[in-house]
């Protein structure tokens, strides 16, 4: 409905459990505010129901040793990439800030041929554009 219906501005929050049953639902208009306390309370309820072992949970993803994310200050795309890195709980990614580290900037220029950041370097190959970097993090960090 939302994606196919231009003009919809309501912000909905829905939790569907693994059996397909709706556990939480809320929608607010553009001027409304999500009820985060109610959402957190339901999440905690669900958490308490999960008495099983955490061994079944997938291990945090790992992009491999030597993976570097180059970022710069005052850059929204860099902030987005950093937020995605944190949210995906990935290990093995070193962050280098080219605004504060001149040698990191030189490394970035050598690897990518320019100073564009964010840039994710895996196995020596640069990946530019935050949406592609975030997609890479999402793929590595959230195996089904």
């Amino acid at each position: 409905v939302y994606l196919n219906d231009p003009g919809i501005t309501d912000r909905a929050t829905v939790i569907i459990d693994s059996e397909g049953v709706v556990r939480f639902v809320e929608s607010v208009g553009p001027g409304g505010k999500r009820d985060i306390a109610a959402l957190a309370a339901e999440c905690e309820r669900i958490d308490r129901e999960c008495s099983g072992s955490t061994e079944d949970l997938p291990a945090p993803g790992d992009l491999g040793k030597g993976t570097v994310l180059y970022v710069r200050n005052n850059c929204g795309a860099s902030r987005a990439a950093l937020a995605a890195l944190g949210n995906c709980h990935l290990g093995g990614v070193e962050v280098r800030n080219v605004s504060e580290n001149p040698s990191a900037l030189k490394q970035l220029e050598k690897i990518s041929g320019g100073g564009q950041a964010p840039c994710l370097v895996t196995d020596g190959k640069p990946l530019l554009e935050s949406d592609k970097i975030i997609a890479c993090f999402a793929d590595a960090g959230a195996p089904l």
């Binding site: 409905v1 939302y2 994606l3 919809i8 501005t9 309501d10 912000r11 909905a12 929050t13 829905v14 939790i15 569907i16 459990d17 693994s18 059996e19 397909g20 049953v21 709706v22 556990r23 939480f24 639902v25 929608s27 208009g29 553009p30 669900i46 949406d131 975030i134 997609a135 999402a138 089904l144």
Partner: protein, 61 residues
């Protein structure tokens, strides 16, 4: 899933209502924030699903 936020009327004047807690969610396929197609059925028996619709504000959804 949200047939329409809150009770309202669609373009044809048909009254629609929001899905309720305890209802079984209809299977659906949506694009995630990265433009990938995600089906509810992919998560069945595996994980809970959180749908967060965040329109405008430079987001695609």
């Amino acid at each position: 899933v949200c047939r329409r936020a809150e009770t309202g009327h669609d373009e044809q004047g048909v009254t629609t209502a929001m899905i309720s807690v305890g209802e079984r969610a209809p299977d659906f396929e949506l694009q995630d924030h990265l433009g990938r197609k995600v089906k509810l059925d992919d998560f069945k028996g595996k994980r809970h699903v959180l749908l967060l619709f965040y329109p405008l504000d430079w987001t695609p959804t």
